[in-house]
């Protein structure tokens, strides 16, 4: 049975065009390759 209030919480406001720039800057773009490089670098330092 669908609970309306609970389902409604799953919907979030959509980003407007004016907020594109903030969205890009705030996006976490770290990928697994970055993590790997960082790990290799730390291992060598030790």
């Amino acid at each position: 049975m669908i609970e309306f209030e609970e389902e409604l919480k799953k919907f979030h406001p959509s980003l407007e065009v004016e907020e594109v720039e903030d969205a890009i800057y705030n996006q976490d773009v770290t990928d697994l390759a970055d993590v790997l490089v960082k790990m290799v670098k730390e291992a060598k330092e030790e």
């Binding site: 389902e7 959509s14 407007e16 907020e19 594109v20 890009i24 773009v29 770290t30 970055d34």
Partner: protein, 463 residues
């Protein structure tokens, strides 16, 4: 594939030929990222956009520089109506690779059409407003806003899902299913859509019930609304049809009675009033004529009375003249000694009795009486004889004339009176006969004539 340390192109070896770095793990990460990209591409090809987004995000978590994955992710976002998210991915893609990047075309497609971009932005604002309405329990306003959003951007999956949720909440299953079906055509494997759809189909009436309902109603689409029009039942047969016909006839008769009859009565009343008016006018005209004629009658009556008075005076004068003439003639006959007493008597009888008794002079009356006395005996005797002879000769009119004169000149002559009655009796004038007989009985009682007269009266009366 480039070395993450020196940027040299890597070979099939697990180390970099340029800097000697161990790239075995790195290569595995890149290969895994490529597998997620391929998976995302396959899902996008079959319109599993949600699955494609998931796979492409996994790809980008492994390799943020995967341009194709990022561009495809932006394209998938754009297809689902999430324009800002798409723009975001394409801008980052262009930032990673500024040359020979298809993201340029995508960004130009939107930016070169400011009206379109503004329309997308308005769509997003309205969606956010509708979501706000939902949280404020203004469901009707939210539905209106979401319908506008969908009309402006039909591929906005989230808007359709939210609208479907509102329909589910208000138990409008058909509408909810319609929105969900359209959402599935855009994003074929969206878990939220599928869950809502399963719930909706579970709550909707069964196929059998829908078929039965369709028989009772015609369902068709009018814009965004589904119109259900009841079908008129055609199974009214037999007694029900007859009852309906009878009710119709009764209603028709009632309407005719309450509408037509008063109109007819009013028409008849108007006709009667018109006739009454005509008759009244005629009556007034006749009344005027009667008044005029009455006035004329009154005038003529007065004129008649006046003329009658004048005539009476003239006649009075004539009576005087005639009476004088008759008396003078009678005196002349007597003085000449003609011996014709009957002629003298006839002259005297022509004198008007009223004039003689009332208006005549005393000398006139003295002369009259003298002449009458002188001839009365002879006249009475001659008249009786002539009358009796006429009676015997059955000349009753002549007999009556002479016998009447005989009795007038001699009141003691009972025979004359008795034979006068017999003359009337024989003539057939029974009333006059009875009158005379009664005079005989009265004037000459205890006589043979009285006894006979009494017998004749009884005979006439049939006693």
């Amino acid at each position: 594939m480039l070395c993450f340390k020196c940027g040299c192109r890597l070979s099939e070896k697990n180390f970099c030929t340029g800097c000697g770095a161990d790239v075995g793990l790195y290569k595995k990460i890149m290969y895994t990222a490529n597998r997620f990209y391929n998976d995302g591409l396959e899902k996008a090809n079959v319109r599993d956009l949600s699955g494609a987004v998931s796979s492409l995000r996994q790809c980008l978590k492994l390799n943020k520089n995967h341009i194709d994955a990022r561009n495809l992710l932006g394209l998938v976002y754009f297809e689902r109506g999430e324009v800002v998210a798409a723009l975001s991915e394409w801008v980052m893609s262009k930032n990673i690779r500024s040359e020979k990047n298809i993201a340029d075309d995508y960004i130009d497609m939107i930016q070169n059409n400011p009206g379109r971009l503004d329309a997308y932005n308005q769509t997003i604002k309205k969606y956010n407003l509708a979501l706000n309405y939902c949280r404020q329990s203004s469901v009707d306003l939210a539905v209106i806003q979401l319908k506008k959003v969908i009309s402006m951007n039909p591929r906005f999956v989230q808007a359709r899902q939210l609208l479907a949720l509102l329909y589910i909440n208000s138990q409008e299953w058909e509408k909810a299913k319609k929105e969900l079906d359209k959402a599935l055509k855009i994003d074929a494997n969206n878990t939220m859509t599928l869950r809502y759809l399963r719930e909706t189909e579970a709550m909707m009436p069964s196929e059998e019930e829908r078929i039965r309902k369709k028989k009772d109603a015609i369902v068709y689409q009018s814009g965004n609304d589904t119109v259900i029009q009841p079908v008129r039942k055609k199974d009214m047969v037999g007694m029900q049809t007859i009852i309906n016909i009878v009710i119709g006839i009764v209603l028709g008769a009632g309407i005719a009675w309450f509408l037509a009859v008063p109109a007819r009565e009013q028409q008849v009343r108007d006709e009667m009033n018109e006739k009454y008016k005509v008759v009244s006018e005629q009556l007034d005209a006749k009344t005027v004529q009667v008044d005029e004629l009455t006035t004329q009658v009154s005038e003529l009556t007065q004129e008649k009375n006046s003329l009658s008075s004048s005539l009476s005076q003239v006649q009075g004068n004539n009576v005087i003249l005639e009476a004088n003439d008759n008396l003078i003639e009678a005196a002349f006959l007597y003085i000449n000694g003609t011996g014709d007493e009957m002629a003298i008597a006839q002259e005297l009888e022509q004198i008007d009795e009223d004039y003689l008794q009332t208006e005549s002079a005393e000398s006139f009356r003295n002369l009259y009486n003298a002449l009458k006395d002188s001839v009365s005996e002879v006249v009475a005797e001659d008249s009786y004889n002539l009358g009796y002879e006429a009676f015997r000769a059955e000349e009753y009119d002549t007999a009556i004339e002479y016998l009447d004169r005989a009795f007038r000149y001699d009141q003691s002559n009972g025979e004359a009176l008795y034979n006068l009655g017999n003359s009337y009796h024989q003539k057939g004038d029974t009333d006059k006969a009875i009158e005379i007989y009664e005079q005989v009985i009265e004037l000459f009682p205890n006589t043979e004539k009285a006894r006979k007269s009494q017998n004749y009266i009884k005979e006439i009366k049939g006693e």
